[in-house]
């Protein structure tokens, strides 16, 4: 393996890792957003 090949694999690996992390973060955030946080002060309103 030449120095150039090594550098190519190194950069490609880094790029894939970075993209993978971005996708995984986004997935986690989307799940959190869908879940939401239940409000503390509210009540069910009876329908008349």
């Amino acid at each position: 393996m030449t120095r150039r090949d090594f550098l190519g694999f190194f950069l490609l690996g880094g790029l894939l890792g970075f993209l993978g992390r971005k996708i995984s973060d986004k997935k986690i955030n989307v799940e959190k957003e869908q879940e939401g946080k239940k409000a503390m002060f509210w009540r069910k309103k009876d329908e008349v």
């Binding site: 939401g36 946080k37 409000a39 509210w42 309103k45 329908e47």
Partner: protein, 324 residues
């Protein structure tokens, strides 16, 4: 039983149909359960001098880790942060920052307090509440700058963890609150009394707007109410208006109006009255007994502090505030 819910956080008490969002833009009814849309999603994060809030009698010359999310319970026509206060959460450039992250970052940057500010913290109540509880465990103080438009029960619950509050008392007429802010005065006055009763350190800010709330008779009435119901020790900040948002046609407040309001407030017995958004000696703190200079300020920065152990170095009288 339907799936309508009623929010019980602020005096507006929005009744929401399924998937309807509240007037504050931050709460949604999802299948009969009310959720916050802004938990852990601040759109403003900054480290400020505590004097910027403004707090002049609370840990002077320290920094406050300051956060805000989108939304507001009011719709003031003069809002200085309308780009975020009158926006939906998704319209702002928010980040994900958990209460744990906030406290960790506050500690990392050496901030003595976390401040819930810029927009109205009531709209991110759950986020503020969880962060405040966590901060207290790590000996970091909690402060908020609020319009005080919140119901008694949530305010009393929050007060367990809140060390100081600066409340905007925007005017002393129901008409102003109704026409200019889209709210009511009475709940704000009630909140001030609750905060005092709960032992939260209290400061009040009054933005004086030409022609709208600059009547000296009303200002006098407001100051008398403060002395009677909250005591003469509560610091009052008269702030100068600059044209913003929907009130761009009005001129900035003349400096003389701020000076007259300050004199009026001191005449009725308030001990600590300041001017804001204007450079003058009225930014400094003077001892109410011996009149010596206690804290010299330039804008948000403290140049000298002559308070030692909460007392005036010159005459030894106790100076109201939280100094350490």
């Amino acid at each position: 039983m339907g799936k309508k819910v009623q929010c019980e956080l602020c005096p507006t008490e929005c009744v929401l149909d399924e998937y309807q969002v509240g007037g504050c833009r931050t709460r949604i009814n999802k299948e009969g359960v009310l959720y916050s849309l802004v938990y852990g999603k601040p759109c403003s994060v900054a480290i400020d001098p505590i004097e910027k809030k403004p707090f002049f009698h609370f840990l002077p010359a320290t920094t406050a880790f300051s956060i805000a999310t989108a939304g507001c319970v009011l719709g003031c026509k003069f809002c200085q942060n309308w780009q975020i206060s009158q926006a939906k959460p998704e319209e702002t450039d928010y980040i994900n920052l958990s209460p744990d992250d906030v406290v960790r970052q506050a500690m990392f940057y050496g901030c003595r307090s976390v401040t819930y500010t810029y927009t109205e913290p009531t709209v991110f109540y759950e986020y503020m509440y969880d962060t405040a509880r966590l901060a207290k465990r790590f000996n970091i103080k909690n402060t908020m700058h609020s319009c005080g438009y919140i119901k008694e029960k949530p305010l009393r619950e929050l007060s367990k963890y809140m060390d100081a509050a600066d409340v905007d008392l925007k005017a002393f007429t129901e008409d102003f609150y109704s026409r200019i802010c889209g709210g009511r005065l009475k709940p704000v006055l009630d909140s001030l009394v609750v905060l005092k009763d709960e032992g939260v350190w209290l400061e009040i800010t009054n933005l004086i707007i030409p022609t709208l709330n600059d009547d000296m008779k009303k200002i006098k009435e407001m100051c008398r109410w403060i002395v009677k119901n909250l005591g003469p020790d509560v610091p009052l900040h008269f702030s100068r208006f600059f044209p913003y948002y929907k009130l761009k046609d009005l001129p900035p407040t003349p400096p003389e109006t701020i000076r007259d309001a300050r004199n009026t407030a001191m005449d009725v017995g308030l001990k600590y009255v300041y001017s804001g958004n204007i450079r003058s000696e009225a930014e400094n703190t003077y001892c109410h007994k011996c009149k010596n200079l206690l804290i010299e300020r330039t804008g948000y920065f403290v140049k000298q502090n002559n308070i030692s152990g909460g007392k005036c170095r010159s005459c030894g009288v106790n100076i109201p505030g939280r100094w350490s």
